[in-house]
Symmetry: C2
Subunit: 352 residues, 2 copies
């Protein structure tokens, strides 16, 4: 690792020690419900044979991996000299819940927990406003409630959704995010659970290996929708962040979408530029899990095609089973590109 | 176009003049049903603003585009000096029908129509055995019934399916195809219609532009399933053909799947090689609709990554709105690669 490389890690999964941590921030009747029965996330039914969380970073104080702020600093922030870590939490699967009021209450309680119990613990920590998109108006209210907090730097929700994210029911979220100059970020994990469609257009694959490999498809679908529905014309200052969905599919998607747009543009008359131009100007991506071809030069060719140094941000995805540590990836990039991807791009986006 | 380039076009959509053409080949009660009410395909609700079929190739004899064998020869085969065209028909959406017996009857009638009314009309024509995968045992019987016909060179079905195509319920189809040394080919079009899942993991996009752009995702899902379920270990001589699903996503998919396999291989112990190795050895792809980057050299880089000259076959997709004519694409390839993609690969696969 470059001795002097500054790092911002844009996807660090702090976790609850237990659902009990939410109780102080929950109103009734939800408080009693969580106290008695837990949070009650809908599962998708896919189980990783190696677990989802690394076992070697369970804190000495007990509880799940990354549930102790002090230990997260010792295990991740200090060893890798990270200047800032964006806490993305472990609650984006709220997007798969059936009850919009309950989902919104859990999101609010979780955000209050982040602000009270995490952000004061270390100067590197920055928080995300978790929203429940089931009722976009409630989600917009939650953004408005917390956007003034100086350390809450983005809006986050699950990529597991009931509909493609460009569709107009979601626009109140984007309007409020733009008003407060906050990026809107999505994260996978709940695909196929709760009220969401099957995790692939072919239906339900058999095992976690296939489910996880196919997660990128949901990102492709949302990205096509965001562009074609004109979200970036309607909200010209809006920035979108796609965490953990892969990147090497971007050339295919931009080329196929641009080609189709040229033939079928009469159906999207609100678009004024090529779809790929909206993507380059409005959407940022994170590195983990970075694709790893046998010939690493091929990934560098993909980076050239997508202007990676201007749309990528480093993420470790700590403490997930497949996390990428900064000493292990992107070694073939030049110093300028490394500096942008490990630091500058996130610093500019999050205005840190 | 190279003066001497021989061409095999692997995706030419002959069409019915009308459903009445099936009647001589249908038993009751289906014959009366089709005579009274038509075939009754489930629509997916997406309509191309430019139509799906080119209007400029409607035959002078009337009827839909590509519904007259003689005119298809005059409009496509002769002008482009095609040595062979693989007739893929216009009936793969049978895969979305609800009734497995009716779907199987339509498939059989359609195959008899191809054999009687198309194959004798020109020496360039080769046919496909259309199957209804809803009842894989009936589909296997249909393959067995017609595999002996010397001009029927493959099995074809829709990529719109109720489940990922690697799953074991489909294996009777693969067993019979392997026994008769016929490739199994899929073609898009019915995604989201009838009994199939939503056409993206994000649900139903709004318009044809988005639906069509996202079709590739279904191919990714099926390909991941075929490899992970061990289809190519169980049926080591089986060849699969993915028509019209794009190709520039293959580097992403192979790299992500290989990486996940390395971490999660305990869940697929029947695999003996990297997933990408099965893909390279067992799956062929067609060119149309070829992705078209602004910088054409980038497509050549993708071709290098996927060993395109050995896994790609030329297809025009005539007479669809976005068809690619052989004089318009792949101009940057060397003569050897062009010869393989336009001719040799299909000749070897179909044993023409």
């Amino acid at each position: 690792m470059d001795a002097q490389l500054n790092i911002i890690d844009v996807d660090v999964h702090n976790d609850l020690k237990s659902p009990q941590e939410l109780l102080p921030y929950l109103p009734e009747p939800w408080k009693s419900r969580v106290a008695s029965w837990g949070i009650g996330m809908a599962g998708h039914g896919y189980t990783s044979p190696v677990g989802v969380m690394r076992k070697d970073c369970i804190p000495p104080s007990g509880g799940p991996s990354a549930s102790d702020p002090d230990y997260l600093v010792e295990d991740l922030v200090k060893p890798y000299h990270m200047e800032y870590v964006i806490l993305t939490g472990n609650m984006t699967n709220i997007s798969t819940m059936h009850d919009p009021d309950y989902a919104a209450a859990i999101a609010s309680a979780y955000n209050d927990h982040i602000i009270a119990d995490w952000l004061p613990k270390h100067e590197s920590f920055r928080g995300s406003i978790t929203i429940a998109p089931q009722d976009p108006n409630l989600a917009a209210q939650e953004i408005d409630r917390l956007a003034g907090h100086p350390l809450m730097v983005q809006v986050i929700m699950g990529s597991a959704q009931r509909a493609p994210l460009g569709q107009r029911q979601f626009h109140p979220i984007y309007e409020m995010a733009q008003r407060h100059d906050l990026p809107v970020t999505i994260h996978p994990g709940g695909e196929g659970g709760g009220g969401t469609p099957p995790p692939t257009p072919a239906g339900y694959p058999t095992r976690y290996l296939e489910w996880h490999t196919c997660l990128s498809q949901n990102y492709m679908a949302h990205l096509v929708s965001l562009v074609c529905e004109g979200v970036f014309e309607k909200f010209p200052k809006l920035k979108f962040v796609m965490l953990e969905g892969g990147i090497a599919w971007l050339p295919h998607l931009m080329w196929r979408l641009d080609k189709n747009y040229k033939g079928l543009r009469s159906s999207v008359p609100w678009l004024k530029r090529l779809p790929s131009e909206y993507i380059r100007d409005h959407v940022m991506f994170s590195t983990q899990p970075i694709e790893e071809p046998a010939n690493p030069q091929q990934l560098m060719s993909i980076f050239d095609m997508i202007d990676a140094e201007n749309i990528l941000m480093f993420s470790s995805d700590y403490p997930h089973w497949d996390n990428d540590m900064p000493t292990e990836i992107l070694k073939r990039l030049g110093a300028d590109a490394r500096k942008k991807i490990f630091y500058d791009n996130a610093k500019a986006l999050y205005k840190i």
